[in-house]
């Protein structure tokens, strides 16, 4: 088959969607399929099919779109003083027109990676080309939270801007022949909050390329833990939603009880300065290391003893999957899809969201009892090697691809 993987977001990118698309392309090509990757360019100036070097500059489209749809003489009206709707819609229509320009008749199947791409491609694809939509997160939920946390924007539940993302979540997820989520949590959001029909959504977990993971793990790292110290590791983008501040609060408590540990925070982001300040204020500067963005995370996991992901919201992060495959006990918060990834007391521990005291107690338990900690890690590894199997995900995905093919008449 010739397959188009498409996203409204930027490609290439450091985020998980690009990682997923890149990995999926390789897997599909190994099976003999031909795959193109469509998305926004990293500088937002064009939509491109990145693997073929095809691009259409948005400046060729925007003047007419803006004049017809959104400027003061436009026949349409939307109360949108901060141009939130205008900005998203213009970019979505650029995606629709760019996809048409590149030509969609050549594809046997289109597989989108977000709600905007799903809605966009559903409107411009030939009727006979099936559309599968993966939903990797809830754009509406994230934007609604952002509006709630930014009262100065003046956007409330009654505002068109708020309703816009509700509508896009619904129509995006409902526009495909079949929609896929990685866990029940994400499916419940779509069906219960955004009115997507139950039968529209299939649930199956992501897969991890174990061969590539172990190659990187065994390639090693120059980082070594200090003698006699156990390593607590938290790889994540340094953003608010990841809840790294919760771990630092827990470590401040842990230090008063035990000194046989260090913590490695792996990743970069807008909060790095604030988190370094928090570490300093808690006198943890000799206990917590910020390692920055690194390519050797699998090898760092092999040097570590406990993995923490104390986020406020997450779907099904690759970092947790990798930690489990590496044989680490994981301590995760009860946020989003995380409780579906860990069996409490068997493959790891689950703590309430934002609860630094509980996290401290769980870290202390795992540091105190080597046997228990290693048993949880071994259980996690045995479970992960089956559950996160790439072959399993590809088999389910190919079943979906087959199920949406038009029947021969």
């Amino acid at each position: 088959m010739k397959i188009l993987l498409a996203t409204y977001w930027l490609i290439p990118h450091v985020g998980g969607v690009w990682q997923f698309m890149h990995q999926l392309k390789a897997q599909l090509e190994e099976l003999g399929h031909e795959v193109d990757l469509l998305g926004n360019s990293p500088d937002y100036t064009k939509f491109h099919i990145v693997n073929r070097g095809l691009a259409l500059e948005k400046e060729k489209l925007l003047p007419l779109l803006d004049r017809q749809l959104f400027d003061s003489e436009s026949p349409y009206f939307a109360h949108d003083p901060q141009h939130v709707i205008r900005s998203y819609e213009l970019d979505r229509y650029c995606m629709e027109l760019s996809a048409a320009y590149f030509g969609l008749h050549q594809y046997d199947l289109i597989h989108t990676q977000d709600i905007f791409a799903a809605r966009a491609l559903s409107r411009v694809k030939p009727k006979h080309v099936p559309l599968v939509a993966h939903v990797h997160g809830s754009v509406a939920t994230e934007l609604h939270t952002s509006f709630r946390n930014s009262p100065q924007m003046g956007i409330s539940e009654q505002s068109p801007e708020w309703q816009y993302f509700t509508l896009m979540e619904h129509y995006g997820a409902a526009s495909a022949d079949l929609t896929i989520t990685a866990n029940q949590w994400q499916k419940n959001i779509l069906t219960e909050q955004f009115g997507v029909p139950q039968q529209q959504v299939a649930v199956f977990q992501y897969g991890l390329d174990a061969v590539a993971f172990w190659q990187k793990a065994h390639a090693g790292t120059t980082i070594r833990p200090p003698f006699g110290k156990k390593v607590i590791i938290f790889p994540a983008r340094l953003t608010y939603v990841k809840g790294i501040n919760v771990l630092i609060d827990a470590l401040a408590l842990l230090k008063s009880a035990r000194r046989d540990w260090v913590c490695w925070i792996v990743g970069d982001g807008e909060l790095r300065g604030a988190l370094e300040h928090q570490v300093l204020a808690a006198s943890l500067q000799h206990d917590v290391r910020f390692l920055g963005q690194r390519d050797d995370v699998p090898a760092l996991l092999l040097q570590s003893d406990i993995f923490v992901h104390s986020c406020y919201q997450d779907n099904q992060p690759f970092s947790v999957m990798e930690a489990q495959l590496a044989g680490l006990p994981v301590i995760v918060s009860a946020a989003g899809g995380l409780p579906e990834m860990v069996e409490h007391g068997v493959t790891g521990l689950i703590s309430p969201v934002g609860d630094a005291i509980m996290l401290y107690q769980q870290l202390k338990i795992l540091l105190e009892n080597d046997h228990n900690r290693k048993q949880l890690g071994a259980n996690a590894q045995a479970w992960a090697s089956q559950h996160w199997s790439m072959e399993l995900m590809m088999s389910r995905l190919l079943d979906v691809y087959t199920s949406v093919q038009p029947t021969v008449r």
């Binding site: 436009s74 939307a78 229509y93 320009y101 030509g103 969609l104 809605r119 409107r123 816009y164 509508l167």
Partner: protein, 59 residues
Amino acid sequence: MDADLKVRGILYNRIFAVNKIDTELLVDYEVWNKLTTELPADYQLPDMAALANIISVKE
């Protein structure tokens, strides 16, 4: 064919649900001609099927 040929935007009015603007705006012929050929016959902007609750046509 001149690759940089510009034509009036109103040539592509069929994809806009309402056309009240007699625009003099010029657009790239090669791009707009190719993409409108590829679009489904019933394709229209804006996406009123999804957004009718928040976008309305001015009186």
